[in-house]
């Protein structure tokens, strides 16, 4: 590859196995799994159920052997980038190390095997895990009560909003609107809608912060809550957070905090202390549970005392003697947000993570913030920093300087791939045109941060001197930029024989 400059230190080309779709390997009669013999009399399905209820064989369903399955997915896996391979500086995503012991304990017999409907006397271990995690999360956030039910951040947002709504309703008026800064994540407005509210977008000020004067105007009797992300999605702490809370509280509205950026605060400051009423955490971000190519996650919601009666069922309660139980008989509850007891397997991993650090979790936060600032320092001379405020766990540059050469944040992101890195987050937050949102997390060594800084500097140089090289990247991957427009125009969403 002639374009491969010697500046690329982190990767080299190597061979990579091709592989078709599993359906393309199928042949009748191959088996990848065998069942133990049936130890009861067989039953004729058509006779037992009525033939109208019995299906034909499944057209196109694969028939392959075990080794073909192993190879298929092993080969596929080698086409992925991952935290285990290197830095994954996706801003807002907190792609940190996923400890292996968490995978181990999540699979223990007696935990992975438990059924949500088994009698609570036989589920004390599961309940204790939930209860212990709840206590940890309350201590870390400084809040009063918690539900672990929500399956991800977005469901946490919805749950939190429903709690505010339920409380307001109980006081006679659910109100109509939720305020959302323009820097917010897309799930925030989407959740507001499901909660039955209107979205009122509010503009950030020139410093990327919430303008309190502006806010004062918007907080009317119609406003149920403000959803804020703190540190904001540009990685900056809302200095006036207490004032913001006060403005809301004075008008009977509440402060919801999207806790996606809690990796900047754990052990350093507590939302409960600075006026937050309701918040969620993303355990698959801050608490290290693996992202698995898109999930699972968990989005616990923490609230102040007044919202507690409204928590979704079931609620873990302590009975006398330390016995734990699941309470579903809660008349004021917003109801159930998903079946069973939340993403238990994710919650369990988050507890394992918390126990590994204990109060030392503060060091995590410090390292995350040091890394972000180190990268900021290293890249400030090369990239435009639209909001020059102190960065916490992430830093957001823009492609303003590179745009002059026709090179966009997406181009730089793709070129980073050639340098051996996963791209940063592009195109978010919306308040930064051409955003380059970089969150290294605490899991990166100085060496990896230095390589990243080097790569970005080198790309900045390329953008000036050889913009085409950057605009056509990546050049070293097994596949080039894909035709996304074509994919969406006439979507092919499944294999067909």
């Amino acid at each position: 590859m002639s374009e491969k400059s010697s500046k690329i230190k982190k990767v080299r080309p190597n061979i990579s196995q091709n592989e078709g779709l599993i359906f393309e390997k199928s042949a009748p009669g191959k088996r990848g799994f065998e069942l133990p013999p049936l130890d009861v009399p067989p039953v004729d399905a058509a006779r037992a159920l009525g033939s109208q209820f019995v299906r034909e064989q499944i057209e196109g369903f694969p028939e392959v052997s075990e080794i073909e399955v192993i190879r298929h997915f092993t080969r596929l896996s080698t086409w992925n980038y991952a935290i285990d391979l290197g830095m994954y500086p996706l801003g807002s995503c907190t792609m940190k190390y996923n400890p292996r012991v968490n995978e181990f304990v999540a699979r223990l017999d007696g935990l992975a095997t438990e059924h949500p409907y088994q009698p609570v006397e036989l589920a004390q271990g599961c309940l204790r895990i939930l209860n212990d995690l709840q206590k940890c999360l309350l201590e870390i956030t400084g809040m009063d009560a918690v539900t672990l039910e929500p399956a991800a951040g977005a469901q946490g947002e919805l749950t939190g909003l429903l709690l505010i709504r339920a409380y307001l309703e109980s006081r006679g008026n659910a109100r109509k609107k939720v305020l959302i800064p323009d820097s917010a994540h897309g799930t925030n407005p989407a959740s507001v809608i499901i909660a039955g509210y209107e979205v009122q977008n509010i503009k950030s000020n020139a410093r990327g912060q919430l303008d309190t004067d502006h806010l004062r105007e918007f907080v009317t009797e119609d406003v149920a809550a403000l959803m804020i992300t703190n540190p904001s999605t540009i990685g900056v702490f809302e200095e006036r957070i207490a004032e913001i809370a006060e403005i809301l509280h004075q008008r009977g509205a509440y402060l919801y905090m999207d806790g996606a950026n809690m990796n900047a605060l754990a052990g350093v400051a507590r939302p409960g202390d600075f006026g937050v009423d309701v918040m969620h955490l993303n355990l698959h971000k801050t608490f290290s549970t693996p992202h698995g190519g898109g999930g699972p996650g968990a989005g616990p919601v923490m609230v102040k005392k007044i919202f507690e009666p409204f928590l979704p069922v079931p609620v873990v309660v302590e009975k006398e003697g330390g016995r734990l139980a699941l309470d579903t008989n809660r008349p004021k509850s917003i109801g159930r947000v998903r079946a069973y007891c939340g993403n238990f397997g994710v919650l369990l991993r988050a507890l394992a993570y918390t126990l590994a650090y204990g109060p030392g979790i503060r060091q995590v936060t410090e390292d995350a913030v040091v890394n972000a600032n180190y990268i900021r320092k290293g890249l400030e001379p090369y990239f435009d920093l639209p909001y020059n405020l102190p960065s916490m766990h992430e830093v957001v540059f823009s492609d303003a300087r590179q745009k002059k050469h026709g090179v966009s944040t997406m181009d730089i992101a793709k070129r980073l791939i050639d340098y051996g890195f996963h791209p940063y987050t592009t195109a978010f937050p919306l308040i930064v045109p051409g955003a380059m949102m970089i969150e290294p997390t605490e899991s990166e060594s100085r060496e990896e941060c230095d390589l990243f800084i080097d790569a970005m500097r080198s790309i900045a140089e390329e953008a000036a001197k050889n913009p085409e090289l950057v605009k056509t990247a990546p050049h070293s991957t097994r596949i080039g930029r894909l035709d996304e427009v074509g994919a969406a125009r006439k979507p092919i969403l499944r294999w067909k024989p």
């Binding site: 990848g32 399905a45 991800a152 897309g186 900021r376 060594s445 969403l493």
Partner: protein
């Protein structure tokens, strides 16, 4: 601090490079009064060994050594060790949502395969990847029907999983939907007369489950027939996905909402599982959740990308089809691997074993004086029995024999305190089925 790749002196050097005198300086933007002065009161730090010790101790406090006849949406099925070995490869386990297609083809290809498998199984044209679980999939399917029909009435069978119905209620409440419940007949199936009586005018969705919460198979073609002309959509939930190895798929339904836990995902006290929505190709733009689509690069090589993102919150914000973002991708992958191993024949054989074992168990249990089937409809691997005494009392006794007995229906249907839902899958040894029957017979033969 074993997870942190920094030495004390590296920390100092990095601070110096930043130009900060101390790490405190980096937190100056947080008002001083909010900065913690004391360390948090958290348990730990624990070594790896201690963490394992903690969780092993918890595992001991659970139901190890018990034989369980619980199902009700969460099933014990055989699975190979292979899927778990593969999902633990760092390349799958520790990657993010595949936004950067060039370095995410592994995940994207697997998602495309998942979508295909789910479509094949459900008899639908397209399927997404993925929803949080079956309950939220059902809920989102109903919301999708609302968007497609612009109507606001929802008719839900009382034979639909009670917790699914509760979740639907939670979501529906504030969206102006009215949810009406439709009862069931002596077959254990939805009451078609009641359905007709409720009227389908203004109905966005009729939601049923098959096999339903009582284990009874609903007649989807009949329901589709009944619903079609009204303009309402038929939404079918599936909680026991293994049934699709043998049962006619709900091809006539407009939207299928499925829980994929049965495909090799451990019960794990209720999650994480994997929900799926499958539907008509024409309605895909109203479908929530991730979709991978096939395309090519400039050199014409086949590749996969996340597509139709204009449905999603990160593009459309308040106009999105759903607020879902993080989903259950890793379990979609696990289910994909599991199904590839099982294959056409394996899945059918597994389903047939379920049927055979459940029928055997039902026959054994019905031999007990006073025990009889509660419903007459066809069932797969779950069935409801009516006992001469309260389920609660019987179950309390069974625990002494280390058996977790039938799910007491009274918990969800207050008038059914003597009824229990029995689940028997291919994992249940015949001897244990016989032991259950013996124990119940013994319990019932004791004077009250």
């Amino acid at each position: 601090m074993r997870y942190l790749p920094k030495s004390p002196s590296e920390r100092q050097e990095m601070l110096k490079a930043i130009g900060a005198k101390s790490v405190e300086e980096l937190f100056q933007s947080i008002p001083a009064k909010f900065r913690l002065k004391e360390p948090l009161r958290l348990p730990g730090p624990l070594s790896e060994q201690e963490i394992i010790g903690y969780f092993r101790a918890r595992a001991e406090e659970n139901a190890r050594g018990y034989t369980s006849f619980l199902g009700a949406g969460v099933y014990q099925h055989l699975s190979s060790v292979v899927p778990d070995a593969i999902v633990q490869r760092g390349e799958f386990l520790t990657s993010y949502t595949p936004y950067q297609a060039e370095i995410s083809q592994g995940t994207l290809t697997a998602i495309f395969e998942f979508q295909t498998l789910m479509a094949q199984l459900t008899g639908q044209e397209v399927a997404n990847a993925s929803m949080y679980d079956g309950s939220t999939a059902l809920t989102e399917a109903v919301l999708m029907a609302e968007r497609l029909t612009s109507r606001s009435r929802v008719l839900v069978a009382r034979t639909l999983h009670p917790e699914y119905r509760q979740v639907l209620q939670t979501y529906a409440k504030h969206l102006g939907l009215t949810v009406e419940e439709i009862g069931f007949t002596a077959t254990g199936q939805i009451d078609l007369l009641a359905l007709r009586a409720a009227g389908l005018a203004g109905v966005a969705a009729v939601a049923v489950q098959s096999p339903n919460f009582f284990g009874v198979v609903e007649s989807i073609p009949t329901l589709a027939e009944a619903v079609r002309s009204s303009g309402a959509l038929l939404v079918t939930a599936i909680t026991e996905a293994v049934s699709l190895g043998l049962l006619r798929p709900p091809a006539e339904a407009d939207i299928v909402a499925m829980e994929g836990q049965s495909f090799g995902i451990p019960p794990s006290y209720g999650g994480p599982f994997v929900g799926v929505i499958a539907t008509h190709y024409k309605d895909v733009r109203q479908m929530p959740g991730r979709l991978a689509g096939q395309t090519t690069d400039a050199a014409g090589r086949r590749g996969f990308v996340l597509t139709l993102a204009t449905r999603e919150q990160h593009i459309r914000r308040e106009k999105a089809t759903s607020n879902i973002c993080t989903n259950e991708a890793l379990y979609a992958l696990a289910a994909t691997i599991h199904l590839c191993l099982l294959g056409k024949e394996g899945l059918r054989e597994m389903a047939e074993q379920n049927l055979a074992k459940a029928r055997f168990a039902q026959a054994e249990l019905e031999k007990i004086p006073g025990v009889k089937a509660a419903f007459s409809g066809p069932s797969f691997n779950e069935f409801v029995l009516e006992f001469p005494r309260s389920m609660k009392m019987i179950n309390a006794e069974l625990l002494r024999d280390k058996i977790i007995g039938p799910l007491p229906l009274g918990h969800f249907y207050t008038d059914q305190t003597k009824r229990g839902l029995v689940c028997v899958t291919e994992t249940m040894p015949r001897a244990e089925i016989e032991r259950l029957a013996e124990c119940i017979e013994r319990i019932l033969s004791k004077p009250v």
